[in-house]
């Protein structure tokens, strides 16, 4: 089933066009990777899907994005509910300067959960789902800033899972991590795929080829090509894609 359908999406920063007539669909419980050189619009595109782009001043958007058939830019859309459903992991791990427990409990609390027992459960399952529980179960009440970079990123994923999202947007989630931590996140993505629809922006093409089912190549605001990952990386249809993934520019 199509989870996300993007139709002729244009985005402007002031007068400058950053996305040009993007059309893209994403199936449920699949991983789509967005690749392309810096400034090609892939992160911008990602941030339109949970309307984080709204926070940037002077952004203008036209076209249509539907998630589960609902137009997310329709007037009256509850952004809070949208972001609860469409969670986001950022490039640099950004845990709050709070304890591990409080980081995970933050989301459920703001969405109205106050039952102590229930919160304990949510924290435990979220940490387990993010493959972090065994590493932090004895230090739940210590500062999250004391964790390693890779652990912090998994903590951020756990924090996200705690609010019960359906779609996970990941904006270069491993670009600040060492290879081992990167591998753990990639393994995690492979596991999360069974339950969530994941869209991941990455500069690492090999990561894209490892973790994703489909890959989309962006270049200067255009979606050049989108295809099954194994096809896109072995026999892309477009010359621009070929040149980019062969390291001829970008």
């Amino acid at each position: 089933m199509d989870k996300i359908v993007v139709d002729k999406l244009d985005l402007f920063y002031g007068d400058q066009q950053a996305l040009n007539k993007i059309c893209l669909t994403m199936k449920e419980k699949s991983v789509t990777a967005l690749i392309g050189p810096s400034g090609c619009g892939k992160s911008t595109f990602l941030r339109t899907l949970n309307r984080m782009q709204d926070l940037t001043p002077s952004v203008k958007i036209s076209g249509k994005i539907t998630i589960d058939g609902q137009d997310i830019y329709a007037p009256g859309t509850d952004v809070v509910l949208l972001r609860k459903k469409v969670g986001m992991v950022f490039q640099n791990p950004n845990p709050f300067p709070k304890s591990v427990f409080e980081n995970i409990a933050y989301g459920p609390r703001i969405h109205g959960e106050s039952d102590k027992k229930r919160l304990n459960e949510i924290v435990e399952t979220s940490l387990k789902d993010a493959a972090l529980w065994n590493e932090v179960k004895d230090r739940l009440h210590e500062s999250a800033l004391g964790l390693s970079g890779g652990q912090q990123q998994r903590l951020c994923i756990a924090r996200l899972l705690a609010v019960g999202p359906e779609i996970l947007l990941m904006d270069e989630p491993t670009s600040a991590l060492d290879p081992i931590s990167t591998m753990k996140i990639e393994e995690l993505i492979a596991e999360l795929k069974d339950k969530y629809s994941i869209m991941i922006v990455t500069h690492n093409m090999h990561q894209a080829s490892r973790v994703s089912d489909r890959t989309a190549f962006f270049l200067s605001g255009d979606l050049i090509e989108e295809d099954v990952t194994s096809i896109l990386f072995t026999r892309p249809a477009k010359k621009k894609t070929e040149d980019y993934i062969s390291g001829r520019f970008g």
């Binding site: 093409m205 090999h206 080829s209 096809i231 990386f233 072995t234 026999r235 892309p236 894609t241 070929e242 993934i245 062969s246 390291g247 001829r248």
Partner: protein
Amino acid sequence: MPTRQKFDHELEELRTNILNLGNMVNEQITDAVRSLINQDLELANAIVVKDIALNDLQAIIEEKCILLIATQQPFARDLRKLVAGFKISIYLERMGDLSVDLAKVTIRIGEEEFIKPIVDIPRMSALVQEMIDIGLKAYVDEDCGAASEMSLIDDQIDKIYSGVFGELRSIMMEDPNKVTQANYLLFASRFLERLGDYCTNIAEEIVYICNGKRMDLNE
């Protein structure tokens, strides 16, 4: 972009090596067939020795492919070139082995008089060599169109082979004394037929380099 240039340079080097290997194979086949026709045992023995150098070159190509895949982690056409280059080198090495097998037929028959005039084997050999020439040129030019041309030649070879097969079978049934040599000659034509098949395999790899599609030309 120096990294990319270095990679391009190394791909070029790989291609040169494969071309050299192909030319070596071509020579081996020519010599093997000539040794058979002329019953030249010395030449036949030289072919067996020369195969060692051929195997060495194939090993170098294989190493280079592995190294480039590991260090460059190529995608798309680069990846296809490396994988295809790897396989082509293996096919060529097998073709080298078949030339040795042909030379061994020369040695087995020795100076014994031929039971029939040797006509079809040189014909098949010429066709195989034509295929190799076309294939190597198509590999350099990355020319997808040559594949069908090669496939047509292979059909001709197959046709000659089945003719030879029938002819030798009748000879064997008529005169049991001729069975041994007839068998050797049958083997020789069978080896040439196999050489043709390997050439079509190479043609398939060239198609893969060009458009990433797998096709079976042996049908």
